[in-house]
């Protein structure tokens, strides 16, 4: 998405007139950016700030507060491995290690081909399916270590 297109999208959001105050569109606008840019950079924040009349720093605060928003470049797919209580007890750390091994990156890093970013995450509300991982918005429950390559391949992983 280009910055101009993004600005258009934010304008469209405003036109929906869902919220009484423009400030309330900050998170929806950040979501559009999160989905369409490799990261939410300062230019994106400037656009949101000027369109919504929200102080620049408030936009940056929101973007940097929520773990779901990336202000650093991320891969095409963000793999989130929950290591909160239920998932941890069900072996999520071994999933994490295996993913590090398969992808050749450490937690928090992005693969060289820009395909995957690996993240350690807090509870995603999928405890009944612990250990749980998500890849972008797709969820995988009761994941076993051996299933990981299949999951990765689904998203274009070239390894084996």
């Amino acid at each position: 998405m280009t910055y101009d297109e993004f600005r258009e999208e934010v304008r469209k959001l405003k036109e929906e007139g869902k919220y009484p105050s423009l400030k309330s569109y900050t998170l929806p606008a950040l979501w559009i950016a999160e989905k369409n840019f490799p990261c939410i950079d300062h230019e994106v924040m400037r656009i949101i700030s000027s369109e919504l009349g929200v102080p620049l720093v408030e936009v940056e605060e929101a973007a940097r507060f929520y773990a779901m928003f990336h202000t650093e470049r991320k891969g095409k797919y963000v793999i989130r491995v929950c290591t909160n209580l239920s998932c941890m007890l069900n072996g999520s750390y071994s999933l994490l290690e295996e993913l590090e091994r398969l992808l050749g990156v450490k937690v928090g890093e992005t693969t060289k081909d820009g395909l995957f970013t690996l993240e350690e995450y807090e509870c995603m509300g999928l405890c009944d399916g612990a250990p749980a991982i998500t890849v972008n918005e797709e969820r995988f429950l009761k994941v076993k270590k051996e299933e990981l390559p299949t999951i990765l391949k689904k998203f274009g992983w070239k390894g084996d």
């Binding site: 102080p55 620049l56 720093v57 940056e60 605060e61």
Partner: protein
Amino acid sequence: MESFKIVIDGKECEAFAGDTVLEVAERNGIVIPVFCYHKELRPEGACRVCLVEVEGAPRLVTACTLKAMPDMVVKTNTERVKRARAGVIELILNNHTLECPICDKSGECELQMTGFRNGPKKSRYREKRREKDIVIKGPLIEIDNDRCILCRRCIRMCGENMGNRVLGILNRGYKAYISPFNGDFLEGGCEHCGSCVDVCPVGSLLDRAFKYKDRPWRMDKTWTTCSLCGSGCTIEVDSYHGKVKRVVGRIGVNRGHNKGYLCVRGKWGWDIIYSEKRLKEPLLRQGDSLVKVDFEKAVEVLKEKLEGREVNLFLESSLTSEELTKIRDVFGGKAVSDSYGYYKLLRGIASITGALNTSLFSSIYSSDVVFVLGDFIEEFTPVIATLLRLAVIQKGKRLIRLGTFPSKLDSVSFSTLLVPQEEIIDTLKHLIVGTFDSSYQSGNKEIDSVAKSLRGKKLSFVVGGNVPFSVESEEIGKTVAFLADRAGAPLVAIPPKANSLKVVELFDLVEPSNLKGEVNVLINCELERDFPGVELPSADFTVIFTPFYTPEVSQADLVIPIELGLEKRGTFKGIEGELSLDSVLETPFSLLEVLKYLPSKGISSKEKQVPLIKEPGKKVLHRKRELLLTVLPNRTGWNSVSYYSENVVKVSGKRELLLNSQELREPKLVSLRVENKELQVQAVPDASVPKGHALLRVERFTRDISSLLRGNFPFLSGIKCEILEA
């Protein structure tokens, strides 16, 4: 208001509805430690060091947010409270870089003091201290995040009280740190008021001009009045061995009407006294050049040249009342002054009230609705704009503003009437009728609704900003005074310069063309800044009393150095009565000393009479195709502060012509034409500039601006102009 009793530490204390326990305790001399609480800020309850025990409540409560209730019994120093407090402080100190020996705040740091008084004897923590190592360096402010205790005082100060919201918290939890957007103060819209630095309890927010310069405990602290505009702020000047190290406002402690709030000029402009352009010795013309002479020689020449001659007196209005009185005594009472526009405004007001004067600024606090008239109050007299904002957010006043250009104040105003400049007087006239007659219809809904919100309310009026420089200043004065008079309300006329009121009181201010003397005497002026468009009359001799090498020094025959505001003792006639100046600095020269050698003219003072007319003013501005020009000095440039101050120049603004974005599509060089004079200037479209108006922002009044304005003195606003292709 009805009061009730609460008991704190066994003492019966009087409390009022809305008081917090902390406030009641403070009034009764009971000390509760605080970090995030600040008298001038909305309570936040973030740090939890103010925990107290309340009878009947199972848990400890934060005194700063707890509202006092009748018969409440509070204990502030039980073992339980002490342990909890020490625990809170222990947690804060664990991750605090204890670098007091090199920290500027040491000696006046609240963490240091509260830590010593209430902290644990030693820490039980074994974990490594977390270091963020994030230091943000702005042009004048630095944030050392390892010292930050995340009390959010700075954020509340900047966002709520100043209305800027430059600072915020980035990241979350342990990693959270304070920063402006993208680490950039200027892009974030920082006005460099210094208020965040002032309220930071620790050494996290730093004044870069002071960093590593001195220690708080050994400096001389002198309370004086800032002379850099008509706000007349009370400031604390800290110096060591006669050298100024910094200026602080001390928000919440300061007893002046500014309550410790400052602007960039007052906070950082003190270094003009050390400017390289400072004049240190008298200069005397010899042939084509000016040569240094000693004071005896200068005084001798001065006496000889002035003897029996009539002078053309040019007077700037930041001189003290004592200096002005002496000046009138030796040079006579006729002068051309930069307060001429303000004088016209006051004359307009006086034609209704009979007095060439203003109400005290504090009179607005006894009204319910404050009617503000004027644009750019935040540029000319920034702290007045801050105080108006605070009147709304702290004291619940309703603000109504009438002007032409949008203002930051509008974000807190109850309503804002923006009308083209030529309609200001007509709008006021509609209000004169509509405010008192509910059946009146002006034909404009907005005006009618403002009239309705004024009707039957206890009103006060404030006129300032660029109004004294408007071609209609006198007529606006009459009209707004007529409205205030009918409402029986006080009218505050904000002076543009620190002692404009005294100049108006003491001198007969005249048009420059009325000066017919043989000797030009300029005191504290910069010709192009104070008298744009005015040429020095030809005279046999020109004497300039000035603190700086000003451009017109080259036209002088004799130049005599004088002091600046921070170097003076004396008084101003200010917006809140008499304001006093004090100083421990010494200068080898003194205006009053020199004037002592001149014979007195023995002019007796007489009260100035302005005929009472009691009629609203008449509209002066009519316009066809032309644009109306306003020349606006940037906040940093008012009084030439950014020109002489190495601090302030770092954040100075620029020169540009702002035009309505429908009238100018994209930035380009244009030629701005006023009558037959032209100025090439970069024009920029700006949605906030109303159609039909042109706003020329300047950092400094230079020769070309002065030439453009020839014949318009004392006006800077409402000047007809055209924009041509460059």
